[in-house]
Subunit: 467 residues, 2 copies
Amino acid sequence: MFNYSLTYTDLYQLSMAQVYFLKGKADEKAVFDYYFRKIPYQGGYAIFAGLQDFLKQLEQLSFSDEDLDYLKTQDFEDSFLEYLRDFQFKGNIRACREGEVVFSTAPILQVEASLIEAQLIETILLNLLNFQTLVATKASRIRLIAKDKTLLDFGLRRAQGPGGYYASKAAVIGGFNGTSNVVVGRDFKIPISGTMAHSFIQSYDSELEAFRDFALKRPKNCVLLVDTYDTLNSGVPNAIKVAKEMEERGNKLLAIRLDSGDLAYFAKESRKQLDAAGLSYVKIAASNQLDEYVIKSLQEQNASIDIYGVGTNLVIGKPDGALDGVYKLAYAAGKPRIKLSESLAKTTIPHVKQVFRTYDTNGQFNGADAIALKNEDQPKQIHHPSEPFKKMNVENFEQEPLLHLVMENGQNLTTNSSLEEIANFSKSRLALLPLEYKRFDNPHIYKVGISDALKQERDRLINAHKS
Amino acid sequence: MFNYSLTYTDLYQLSMAQVYFLKGKADEKAVFDYYFRKIPYQGGYAIFAGLQDFLKQLEQLSFSDEDLDYLKTQDFEDSFLEYLRDFQFKGNIRACREGEVVFSTAPILQVEASLIEAQLIETILLNLLNFQTLVATKASRIRLIAKDKTLLDFGLRRAQGPGGYYASKAAVIGGFNGTSNVVVGRDFKIPISGTMAHSFIQSYDSELEAFRDFALKRPKNCVLLVDTYDTLNSGVPNAIKVAKEMEERGNKLLAIRLDSGDLAYFAKESRKQLDAAGLSYVKIAASNQLDEYVIKSLQEQNASIDIYGVGTNLVIGKPDGALDGVYKLAYAAGKPRIKLSESLAKTTIPHVKQVFRTYDTNGQFNGADAIALKNEDQPKQIHHPSEPFKKMNVENFEQEPLLHLVMENGQNLTTNSSLEEIANFSKSRLALLPLEYKRFDNPHIYKVGISDALKQERDRLINAHKS
């Protein structure tokens, strides 16, 4: 739906690019890492999402005449603008598979391209991957708690403008079953759902008449909203009447929906009324400010809810609202590069790299990822990147490289996976992560360390800059 | 940049529309209110933004063949899909002016259209207005604290996907001076700014060489980023050398930028070094996790910062992330409509309405907005909408109606105001709001009440539904 333009970027990318161009550095090769520093929601893991959209956008990114005319008004040189006219990304990208379980510090994706190319795609890369990873991670937390209940995204109205498009999509990667968002259903083949608002019932003089018309004219997957006036004395009894009438026509009411009040209480009482009327097949859907904590509480109360509709908290990734993903130069002009900081934790990790995941003897994730030089063998021990005396032996664990070539010379190498395939992959990976990393309160910290060789190189660069 | 499709909506809008259509209610008139319940950021006011974009989208909204083909797979009836093929919004809209200072409960906008039209535009309306109002309000809080300092939006990389487009724009309505977001600069004629990232400096063997090349090839509005290796011992001294070289070429360094560490301390020390070198004209820009509270603290410390670059916290409207704006049916089929709730505060206010703002004798906002029936004269007293015994006399205050006709039969009546005009209007309105409503901690609560006539009507409907 949305085609990004190359002007969907920060001005400084273009300013830097002009300097590189005019100084003859246009073709100088560089390597950038994409990673994040802090796992969102004080959680123990994140779900990497957005890769396929990013690669798709990369293949079509260019500057339009309108863009170039505009840039001419912003003090760019003609020769540079002519260069931009033919600009296309022709670099290489290595990345984790979309849906992978990822942790802070280790590169999730590496871009290897000319300095200009790598710089011009930075903002779009961060914009797309940060947000989708944030939402997929939120969705995955909700899925963990909701077990096999149906999870639907209802968030579009409170989403951050057109950001809602990717939110509904990323939610499915994290384990949601469907969305109310029609265009996303169309574009990504996601099941869509939703039936009526309170306004529908209000527009009739009688709630019963409103239910009747709806069941008659939209009988498939019919869900009746029962809390417009009085849930237990009006909404549910009227829904039961209409469900019985539907039975006579050979239809079945799918569910009633609760959207206010104490959901645990109203669900329990509604369930009783439905069961007493012989409508045990009619499901109960609930919505209203849900998130993983409210759903956890409802589940703990055995709240008779079969379908959760989650809105705002999901699509804006509340409370974080943003993943702090960054894009840092690791290699340029034939040399590894570093950025220092007052704290070692914010000092970057230089060089072209590979990330290894370690496995225990049961084939579960072993609680440690190893960042190594790209051409290194599997690392034997890893060092904590900011606490110099913390080490861990990883020699005897099975290891798997996580970064795979996904784009070569600007060509997308990934097969166009369906969203369902990505979601299934994510689910299978999350199944390998032990429970202690998944709990909401103070999850166990997954270790991410650097190899001997990488540590040596990093220490060397730190010392060189300090002297 | 983004053209919304009418499928950028919740499925239930289409489900309800089909029932209205098949039951012959397609042309039944309805009135919906747009308002919010909770002022964001625990603040005392909000800035209404997004109206112009919304009206522009409304004029072009339709269903494409692709949309209709997709809907056919979702159990919609052919006759209804044929109706949608020619669908265009032809209703009327009354709204506050964009940039207006607004409060909870009172309608900011009213849609008067057929039930189907009003329903089909709901999701896009909420999606656009909620988000822009959220960000404009955030920007306005930052502007209040930053006084006449320059405020720049740097948030695109952490924005919620394409939501970043409207975020950068709404920030200007709230008082920001510019953005790093190039496409928004192009589309809305906003000043754009930004110079270099750490990667630019890292890509050179020497920080000084990097600064030199940049100053030479991008001399206008040149800002040097001084914290890549060591701010006070390397970054600032190198910037001073390059500033002097620029002077020899007749150029002037605009600013240095700090992006880490204790900004108050580094700004003060940098200022000393710059002044000692005779570079008192060189400004200091600061960025890194800023929001209104951090800037308040920096201002209180006289931190020598001239330019604030605000990113994530602005563009995602942190910590709220969403405005809880709703769209409620107030009138349909010739009758006022109400939705009850367990609490009076969530019970809707029925009828076609007007909102009056009251003024004190100095021409300042008087701390009370009055919601009245549309055709009523100026109300004499107002009642708290959820605390029955609270009343206020407003008879002797000058009053101004806030809802103006902005769209008639689908035609946009607003002149296409520039963003600057909207921002200026907003500034002039905010100047009329007394300080006690603007403070961050426990701001005074602006009263919003309903007129005698409206209260009578509402009570009548509540009682009718209860019996």
